[in-house]
Symmetry: C2
Subunit: 145 residues, 2 copies
């Protein structure tokens, strides 16, 4: 087992260690974006906080995870799908959605960030588009009451 996580680690020139596999498995089994605290909780009491910090940074550097900014609480991390990200090319053009009800953040992989024309002189490198609202599940639950 852990086939997929091992595959991902190898693809990104990283050694296969237990900590990395366990953290990666968390992301593979969850469709949502995870914060540092989410990950610590998911790993249980036996996880070392420092290792989590370092692993997240490594994964983000290597192109396994991408970061999602947040104005209220902490940065979230989510898997880079399509396996097209690496240390050099680490671009994403999908929209992120954060639910104000359940607090979960997710990637809307199908929704491409609409491009805009910058004022003269500005150079575009990358963009983040985050929508806050109510996710489909929470909206459905609310409708039932």
């Amino acid at each position: 087992m852990h086939t997929e996580s091992r595959h991902i680690l190898k693809n990104h020139d990283l050694r296969l260690t237990e900590a990395r596999e366990r953290i990666l498995d968390l992301f593979l089994h969850e469709e949502r974006a995870l914060s540092h605290a989410d990950i610590e909780a998911g790993l249980g009491a036996d996880a070392d906080r420092v290792t989590v910090y370092r692993t997240l940074r490594t994964f983000a550097d290597k192109g396994i995870l991408h970061t999602i900014p947040d104005e209220q609480d902490n940065i979230r991390y989510a898997l880079c799908h399509h396996g097209s990200c690496g240390p050099e090319n680490h671009r994403h053009n999908h929209i992120h959605f954060k639910c104000g009800q359940c607090g979960q953040t997710q990637c809307l992989e199908g929704l491409v960030i609409p491009s805009v024309v910058l004022p003269a002189g500005f150079i575009f490198l990358e963009a983040n588009y985050i929508i806050q609202g109510i996710c489909d599940r929470c909206a459905a639950n609310a409708a039932q009451n």
Copy 2:
């Protein structure tokens, strides 16, 4: 003097205190978005960090400042222009730009966030659109060399 900052404070039902005026003046004299650290630096050594935290929260709650998420470092704050924001309606639909060279974040007031069609079931409340790149000044400087 400080006419404008007093005016803003009164408009938002806040008492006129020295700390608030000084912090607000920083924003009025700068066109860019400021982080907590920027503000402490701008105030000098005689500023109390706790007061800055509380003032920023108050300003954001009341609709004087809006927050700009960031994936690398800290949240930035910027003035809500047009005076249309309050505790209840605190919406912004302009794009933010962060320069990777000078590190400054600014509001592109003229650029409206393009809207998108969310998947079925999702409810939109608000959006953040942040572009990373090189700002006009830094790009011009680079071109000279």
